[in-house]
């Protein structure tokens, strides 16, 4: 698959120092990302394919990474 995930134009990824967590912010929704999820989304800059992102994580979690990216795309938060 040649999809190179990037954040949707209207989604914002930000660190929240008050809560010491990373937030994915879109209209009407704020998603508090786990450390792993934040690391995955941070790699979505439009230059890497899904397999390239998945190889950054332990092999037993590769399916989870792929599924997570697909979920975010389904929501329209990744393009």
């Amino acid at each position: 698959m040649s999809w190179r995930p990037a954040l949707s134009r209207y989604a914002r990824l930000r660190h929240c120092p008050v809560r010491d967590s990373t937030l994915l912010v879109v209209p009407e929704r704020i998603v508090v990302l786990s450390t792993e999820a934040a690391a995955i989304v941070a790699l979505c800059d439009g230059t890497r394919t899904v397999p390239e992102i998945a190889t950054r994580f332990p092999p037993e979690g590769a399916d989870d990474v792929v599924g997570f990216l697909a979920d975010l795309k389904e929501h329209g938060w990744l393009r």
């Binding site: 929240c16 912010v25 009407e28 704020i30």
Partner: protein, 355 residues
């Protein structure tokens, strides 16, 4: 009491001025004078403080926020503070140039109000010619590549038009349509009998929403008519728990409907936002569950709805500390069931904001 969690969201009522005169307006009957509004610098300071406090979302609303000539500066202030901004607008006054300035300042999304599915029904509620301007505004937002949300307040005069409203939203390119049953505060409270739907209208509207949800990717949000459901809505996710509202003149409210409550409302002109959120008497008044009366105190839903809406308890019983009468378990629930049967036809349009 346990440590107070930081707020997630802020509603910034930048002005109470508005070109529309919707009888369901949630602004208070006593509108803030334009000359009492916070200055640009004061709003920028409020946004910086809000970001520091943990606010992640701000709705730039009103009234009509486009009436503020410094709106792009305010948008830039939200972006600098790391706060995601949504412009909540009637669409009147939105030009291509104006929108370009706002997007350049960092505006990521727009929510547009529409009052009905066509010009005649929309303008009957808006009180002036406005439908064509809204259609243009929707096209401009899409052209700018911003996600468009549509919000439609529902009541007796448009509840039967759900299909046409959803069709309109899809045609205008909305990613999200908020179908918000009228909440009876402010001008809507004054117009309650004229806006009150019938149970039959609500049942059919709810069916239409369910049917359309199965056939569209557009997100359809249904804001419940709590007078009819017998279940209280969670008061803002808890009083002083999730969000705050800043009025045009700097007063800070735990809820946009709280203007009339017997609270000493703190003002950003006098206090820091952190003190207001954490320590002010107004924000502590109904925070948590310790203050709950019966039947709420022993209710399994107490952490779900926090006794319901304080502003509704006050509006209907005169005591903001009572159980929300919308709850079927409230000793005052009869007030609500009586009101759902009371209907008349006269709409009173909201006033213009005084200079």
């Amino acid at each position: 009491m346990a440590a107070v969690n930081p707020p997630w969201a802020m509603l910034a009522e930048l002005t109470h001025g508005c070109p529309l005169r919707c009888p369901y307006c949630s602004n208070p009957l006593e509108l803030t004078f334009r000359e009492q509004e916070l200055t640009t610098d004061q709003w920028l300071d409020v946004l910086a403080q809000a970001g520091d406090l943990g606010v992640a979302h701000v709705h730039l609303s009103g009234g009509e926020p486009l009436l503020r000539r410094d709106l792009a500066e305010i948008v830039a202030g939200a972006a600098r503070a790391g706060i995601y901004a949504q412009l909540v607008t009637s669409g009147l006054g939105l030009t291509r140039e104006r929108l370009a300035g706002l997007t350049a300042a960092g505006l990521p999304s727009v929510q547009l109000s529409v009052q009905g599915a066509d010009a005649a029904s929309s303008e009957l509620i808006a009180g002036r010619r406005s439908f064509a301007a809204k259609e243009r505004a929707a096209a401009l937002v899409r052209e700018a590549g911003l996600p468009l949300g549509l919000n439609v307040v529902l009541h007796r005069l448009n509840l039967e038009d759900i299909d046409a409203i959803v069709d309109l939203g899809i045609a205008w390119g909305a990613v999200r349509i908020e179908l918000a049953n009228t909440q009876f505060y402010g001008w809507a409270l004054a117009n309650r009998a004229a806006l009150m739907p019938t149970r039959d209208q609500l049942d059919r509207a709810r069916e239409a929403v369910e049917r359309r949800r199965r056939r569209t990717d557009t997100e359809l949000v249904w804001v419940v008519p709590d007078y009819f459901d017998g279940v209280a809505k969670p008061c803002m996710g808890g009083w002083g728990a999730v969000s705050l509202t800043v009025a045009p003149d700097g007063r800070v409210l735990p809820c946009p409907a709280a203007y009339d409550l017997p609270l000493d409302l703190p003002n950003v002109r006098d206090h820091g936002l952190a003190w207001i959120w954490n320590d002010s008497a107004a924000f502590r008044a109904y925070r948590g569950t310790d203050w709950l009366p019966e039947p709420c105190a022993s209710c399994p839903r107490r952490e779900t709805d926090f006794g319901g809406c304080r502003c509704q308890a006050f509006a209907l019983t005169g005591d903001a500390g009572r159980t929300d009468p919308a709850c079927a378990l409230s000793p005052d629930h009869g007030l609500v069931t009586d009101l759902t049967a009371r209907r008349d036809g006269d709409l009173a349009y909201r006033a213009s904001a005084p200079r």
